[in-house]
């Protein structure tokens, strides 16, 4: 192992790791909005809307993320969907994780006992108030756990956006290998950085989970 080289390139890889974090964080935030919209659309009692949401979710779940990325980046411009690589990476990530997240959110909400809804409605709370005051707080724990798992998958999948030349951790690693021919050192370093990011996400998820479920231990 060439430790001198590893020390030299570490700053470059850290910089690229920030791009990985940036692209993932944006995709998660936008993905959450996509997911919430999908959950909302699916809750509307209008069959075509429900079919649309189910069709969309099946499409995303039934195709590889890698193919989705290539399709949108290279196929998109043909139908007027032209984005720079970074934006494309964020959006494909967001719409991908959004589909999975919508199922996670729906599942978590459905796990709340229906008696909770009845008790809330019987007091005079409306649907949205019931969702906000009663159902979401109780679904939050499960929701955070499942969304956390998806977020970790997304971080790791973000390495795939190197194919559309976003200069994130993996792309940068490949570039450095091109000039140094030291794949073992460089990929080891980048793998370590992924581990740090993933464990940081896990830590945040665990804290959020504990906060959301404090009431069960009090």
């Amino acid at each position: 192992m060439d430790f001198n080289l590893m020390a030299d390139i570490t700053p470059l890889l850290i910089k690229a790791a920030w791009v990985t974090i940036d692209i993932s964080a944006r995709a998660i935030v936008i993905g959450f909005m996509v997911a919430s919209t999908l959950v909302f659309l699916r809750s509307i009692k209008f069959k075509p809307l429900q079919w649309f949401v189910r069709g969309y979710v099946s499409l995303v779940r039934g195709t590889p993320y890698f193919v989705q990325l290539l399709l949108v980046f290279y196929g998109g411009p043909t139908i007027g969907l032209k984005m720079d690589p970074f934006t494309c990476g964020v959006m494909v990530g967001a719409f991908n994780i959004g589909a999975y997240m919508s199922e996670a959110i729906r599942g978590a909400l459905e796990s709340v006992d229906s008696g909770q809804n009845e008790a809330s409605r019987s007091l005079g709370f409306g649907r949205l108030q019931t969702l906000g005051y009663i159902e979401l707080p109780q679904a939050a724990g499960l929701m955070i756990r499942s969304v956390g798992v998806l977020a970790i998958v997304l971080v790791k999948n973000s390495s795939l956006v190197s194919i559309i030349s976003v200069v994130e951790l993996t792309y940068q690693a490949q570039r450095l290998i091109g000039s140094t021919y030291k794949p073992l050192e460089i990929f080891t370093l980048s793998a370590l950085m992924y581990i740090v990011i993933v464990y940081a996400v896990m830590g945040i998820v665990e804290l959020a989970y504990r906060r959301a479920t404090r009431y069960t231990t009090q």
Binding site: E118, L123, Y133, Q138, Q218
Partner: protein
């Protein structure tokens, strides 16, 4: 309408109510009038439609036909749609307290917050006033000491008493009890019955679906026996429980009085 007439408006009026679940007719034309301050017990075996009837009163079940009025205001409004109906029913429900068999306390809120959430969010009560109100109602059900505790630390009887306090805190015109003691261990039934008795003393209008014959006989002003979606018999408890007219009522009461005591 004169004030005289106003005071005579029944608190709850159920007129010719029909309800089906798919092909199954569960309510086949029910009529019932509950006057102010009166207590009506509805008894019957499971599947008789008694819970469905009670749940219809605050529109947790949507009736197919008939009319339900709360204090002269129609609860079911087939003429209203969407948000307009949503606003209407939310307002109506604020005047009706409902107590469920399985308590349905909000597990993520403290006992006190369970009681104060609705007054705060629906009546715009500030925290301090709501807290005082909440403590007052918890005091009434004997659980002021448990104000800061979460529901998972309460016994079944305590949970149900908090659920009653939660409903009372909205200062409803009528209380609906849907088998409030059926899910409780026998030794915890009495503490809930005590709270219900105290409400009876204060002339709270109550509609009680119950399996507790002795209790129903004690507190009710009127008793009603349902079977197969119809009212078989109704009357004042003295006659109803000792000398009912119908054979079906007699055999039901015999079975339940025997098994209960």
């Amino acid at each position: 309408m004169s004030t005289q007439n106003m005071t005579e408006t029944p608190m709850v009026e159920i007129k010719n109510v029909h309800k089906s679940f798919g092909d199954l007719k569960v309510l086949k034309g029910i009529d019932l009038t509950v006057d102010r301050g009166k207590i009506v017990s509805i008894i019957g075996s499971s599947g008789s439609g008694k819970s469905t009837l009670l749940r219809s009163v605050n529109h947790l079940e949507v009736i197919d036909e008939g009319t339900i009025l709360l204090d002269g205001v129609q609860v079911n409004r087939p003429d209203m749609k969407g948000l307009a109906f949503e606003r209407h029913i939310n307002h109506i429900r604020q005047n009706m307290g409902m107590v469920f068999q399985h308590f349905n306390l909000f597990p993520h809120l403290s006992t006190l917050d369970n009681v104060t959430l609705a007054p705060r969010k629906l009546k715009g009560m500030d925290r301090k006033t709501a807290r005082e109100l909440g403590m007052e109602y918890l005091e009434r059900v004997g659980l002021a000491a448990k104000a800061e505790v979460f529901p998972s630390h309460l016994s079944g009887g305590q949970k149900q008493r908090v659920a009653i306090a939660r409903a009372l805190a909205m200062q409803p015109k009528v209380m609906l009890f849907d088998e409030a003691t059926s899910a409780l261990d026998p030794e915890l039934v009495e503490e809930v019955n005590l709270v219900m008795r105290s409400l009876a003393k204060e002339h709270m209008t109550m509609l009680i679906v119950t399996h507790e014959m002795a209790f129903a006989r004690d507190v009710s002003d009127w008793a009603m026996f349902m079977d197969g979606g119809v009212v078989v018999e109704e009357g004042p408890p003295d006659k109803f429980f000792t000398n009912p007219d119908h054979e079906r009522t007699r055999s039901f009461l015999k079975k339940h009085l025997d098994s209960n005591h």
